[in-house]
C-alpha cells in the first residue's frame, strides 16, 4: 500500500477532462479540466453559481456529463465496488430524508457496505451529534445538518473526501471544528477536495486551488502562488504604539508601508505572520494585526487579469448579485 501511495503521488486522484454539462440551454460547466492530487487539500473556489456543485455531482456520478470524462483513481464513480470506502462526500444541498433519525440515516448508508453499527456510533461521536442522534433530522439546524453530512462522508473511512461548502451554516466554533478536522484528515494522508465561495476560508485549509467562474477554469494553482499574486496589493493592517520603528523595520524587508493614521500602518507585500515575526525580532509591540482580505471578486480580477471573457461574463451577470458575492 505504501508503494501504491508513492506511485499515486504523480497520478491524479480525481481527474476532470474536458467536461461540459448542459441543463437544457444553460451551460453549467464549460469544457472544464483539472486534476486533484492525492494526499493534499485542494480548494475548489468560485462564486455562487460558478458550477462547483455541478462539478462535484459529476465527479460523484449523480449527474452525467454532456461531454468529457470524470474519473476517480482512473475509474468512473459508478464502477467503484465500494464507493463509500473510496470517496466520502458531503453535498451542499441536503441529501437526507427529514423523517429519519441521524442514527438510522447513517445506519442505512453503512449497511450498503456492510459497515457495522460500531462505526456508525463512532462517526456520530466524532461529529458531536450523540445527544441528538435518535432525533429526526427534520428538526436539525443547518449546522447539525452539516455535521451529519460530515459523519456520512467519514462513514466508510475513505481515502478521498469531497465536501461542498462544509463551513456553511456553522457557527465560529463549528468552523474551527471543521478546519481542525480537515487538517487532521489531510494529515492522515487523505485527498480532500473542498469547495467554498469564501477565499479567506480556503486560504486557511487548502494547499492547492482550482478556481472556476461561469463553469470555466480560471486558475489551477498552489495557494502560495495564489496568495502571492492576490496579495500583491492586499494589505495587512497593523496597529502598534511603536509604528515608526515598525515602519522602518518593515521597509527594510522591501515591504511597502502606508501610514493610515497615527499608529496605524497598511503593509503591502508581507503576510501577517511575516510582520509578526519581524516585530518580534525587533521587540516591537503589536496591538493589532489584521489581514485586509480581498473580496473574491477582487481576487478574480487579479487572477484573471485582463481576461476579457470573464469581464464580459461579469457584466452580463450584473443582474445576479450572488455571482458578485464577496468574502466576509
Amino acid at each position: 500500500m505504501v508503494l501504491a501511495a508513492a506511485a499515486a503521488d504523480t497520478d491524479p486522484m480525481i481527474s476532470v477532462e474536458n467536461v461540459t454539462k448542459r441543463y437544457g440551454e444553460k451551460v453549467a460547466v464549460d469544457d472544464l479540466s483539472f486534476e486533484v492530487k492525492p494526499g493534499i487539500v485542494t480548494g475548489f473556489l468560485g462564486p455562487n453559481g460558478a458550477g462547483k456543485s455541478t462539478t462535484m455531482r459529476l465527479i460523484l456520478g449523480l449527474d452525467a456529463p454532456t461531454a468529457g470524462n470524470v474519473t476517480i483513481d482512473e475509474r468512473h464513480y459508478a464502477e467503484l465496488p465500494a464507493p463509500l470506502h473510496e470517496v466520502g462526500a458531503m453535498l451542499e444541498a441536503r441529501a437526507i430524508h427529514t423523517g429519519r433519525s441521524a442514527y438510522n440515516h447513517l445506519l442505512a448508508l453503512a449497511q450498503t457496505h456492510g459497515i457495522g453499527r460500531r462505526r456508525v456510533q463512532e462517526v456520530i461521536e466524532l461529529v458531536g451529534l450523540q445527544d441528538v442522534a435518535r432525533k429526526r433530522v427534520g428538526g436539525f439546524s443547518l449546522g447539525m445538518g452539516q455535521r451529519l453530512g460530515v459523519a456520512a462522508a467519514l462513514l466508510g473511512d475513505p481515502r478521498v473526501l469531497i465536501l461542498d461548502e462544509p463551513a456553511n451554516g456553522l457557527d465560529p466554533e463549528g468552523i474551527l471544528w471543521i478546519r481542525t478536522l480537515l487538517k487532521r484528515l489531510a494529515k492522515d494522508g487523505r485527498t480532500v477536495f473542498l469547495s467554498s465561495h469564501l477565499m479567506a476560508e480556503m486560504a486557511q485549509t487548502a494547499e492547492h486551488l482550482v478556481v472556476i467562474g461561469r463553469g470555466k477554469l480560471i486558475a489551477d494553482t498552489s495557494v502560495e502562488d495564489f496568495v502571492q499574486r492576490a496579495s500583491g496589493s492586499a494589505a495587512v493592517r497593523v496597529v502598534s504604539p511603536q509604528a515608526t520603528a515598525l515602519r522602518d523595520a518593515l521597509a527594510a524587508q522591501d515591504a511597502r508601508v502606508d501610514s493610515v493614521e497615527r499608529g496605524v500602518l497598511e503593509v503591502h507585500g508581507l503576510t501577517g505572520q511575516a510582520i509578526g515575526e519581524i516585530a518580534l525580532a525587533e521587540n516591537i509591540v503589536l496591538a493589532e494585526l489584521t489581514p485586509l482580505q480581498l473580496s473574491l471578486e477582487q481576487a478574480f480580477m487579479r487572477l484573471t487579469g485582463e481576461t476579457v471573457e470573464y469581464h464580459t461574463a461579469t457584466a452580463e451577470s450584473s443582474d445576479d448579485p450572488s455571482s458578485m458575492e464577496v468574502a466576509a
Binding site: A4, A5, A82, A93
Partner: protein, 290 residues
C-alpha cells in the same frame, strides 16, 4: 506536502494527538463491497425507520383485518331484510377479504412514497452515492416493500377471513379455507397487494414527485374503471377486463364474473403491466441525473 502515508486502510491510527479520531479500527471482513443483499438490508432499515411508513402499514393492516368482519356483521344483522338478489350475490370470500379495497389505497400511496420521499428530500443523492449502480436500490426498495406487504396482508387477510367466517355462521353462509377458491383468494389478495406495491414503487421512480405519483396511481387504478363504465356496454366489455385493477383483482374474486379474465390470467396480465412499469422505471433511473 510530501507526508503522504499509505491510504488509511483501517490500520489503527498511531498519531499521538488523536483528539479527532477519523480512522476505522478494523473489524475483519467488514471492508466490503456493495452487494444486493446489503442494499436490501439498508432498504429494510430505511423502510421501518420512517414514522409515515409504520403508520401507513398499520392503517393497511387494520383495514385489511378489520373491514371484512365489520362488513360480515352488517350483512348478518341485515340478512333477514335482504332480498333474494342480494342473497344470491352474497359471497363469503368477497365479504371476508373486502378489506383489500381499503388496503390497496394505503399500499399504493406508500409504494409511491418509497421513492418520491427520497427525491423530494434529496435523500436519493445519498442513496446513489452509496450505491452508484442505482438499480440495486430500485430492486431492493420494490422487493422489500413487496415482501413486507405480502406477509402483512397475508396475515391480516387470514385474520379477516377467519373472523368473518365465524360471524357468517349466524346464518350458515360461511365458507372455509378448505374450499379451493377461498384459499386462492386469500393468498391472491396478498399477492395482488404485493405486486401493487412494486407497481406503485415503479410509478414513484418514474414520476419522482409525490403528488404526481399518487395522482397517477389513483388515475390508473380507480379513475380508469370509472371512465370505462360510461362507455357503451360492448366497448366496456372489451376494455374492462384489461384495466390494471380489474385484471389484478381477478385472483381474489370469490366467483368468476362475466367479462373478466380468469383468476390467474388476469393476475398474470397485472404482473405484466407491473413488469413494464418496473423496466421503464429502471431505464429512467439509470439514465436521469439525480
Amino acid at each position: 506536502m510530501s507526508a503522504i502515508k499509505a491510504p488509511p486502510s483501517g490500520a489503527a491510527d498511531n498519531s499521538p494527538s488523536a483528539t479527532i479520531e477519523t480512522t476505522v479500527r478494523p473489524v475483519p471482513g467488514t471492508r466490503g463491497h456493495v452487494t444486493q443483499l446489503r442494499v436490501i438490508r439498508s432498504e429494510w432499515t430505511k423502510l421501518w425507520s420512517l414514522r409515515s411508513t409504520r403508520w401507513t402499514l398499520l392503517v393497511a393492516v387494520l383495514g385489511m383485518a378489520g373491514l371484512g368482519p365489520l362488513i360480515a356483521s352488517i350483512q348478518m344483522n341485515r340478512w333477514n331484510q335482504m332480498g333474494p338478489g342480494d342473497r344470491l350475490h352474497f359471497n363469503p370470500i368477497n365479504t371476508g377479504l373486502g378489506g383489500y379495497h381499503f388496503a390497496q389505497l394505503a399500499i399504493g400511496v406508500l409504494g409511491v412514497l418509497v421513492l418520491t420521499g427520497e427525491y423530494s428530500t434529496g435523500q436519493i443523492r445519498s442513496s446513489f452515492m452509496a450505491v452508484p449502480k442505482r438499480l440495486p436500490v430500485l430492486w431492493a426498495k420494490a422487493g422489500t416493500f413487496a415482501a413486507v406487504t405480502f406477509v402483512l396482508m397475508l396475515i391480516s387477510g387470514l385474520v379477516a377471513f377467519l373472523a368473518s367466517q365465524g360471524i357468517l355462521t349466524q346464518h350458515h353462509v360461511q365458507t372455509t379455507l378448505g374450499h379451493a377458491p377461498a384459499l386462492r383468494a386469500l393468498i391472491g389478495s396478498a399477492l395482488y397487494l404485493a405486486v401493487l406495491a412494486v407497481f406503485c414503487t415503479s410509478l414513484g421512480a418514474i414520476v419522482r414527485n409525490t403528488a404526481g405519483g399518487i395522482a397517477l396511481f389513483a388515475g390508473l387504478l380507480f379513475v380508469l374503471p370509472g371512465l370505462a363504465a360510461i362507455l357503451p356496454t360492448s366497448t366496456q366489455n372489451a376494455i374492462n377486463p384489461y384495466l390494471p385493477s380489474n385484471a389484478g383483482t381477478t385472483i381474489l374474486a370469490g366467483t368468476h364474473e362475466a367479462h373478466t379474465l380468469s383468476a390467474w390470467g388476469g393476475f398474470g396480465l397485472f404482473c405484466g403491466y407491473t413488469a413494464i412499469v418496473l423496466i421503464v422505471a429502471a431505464v429512467l433511473m439509470r439514465r436521469r441525473d439525480a
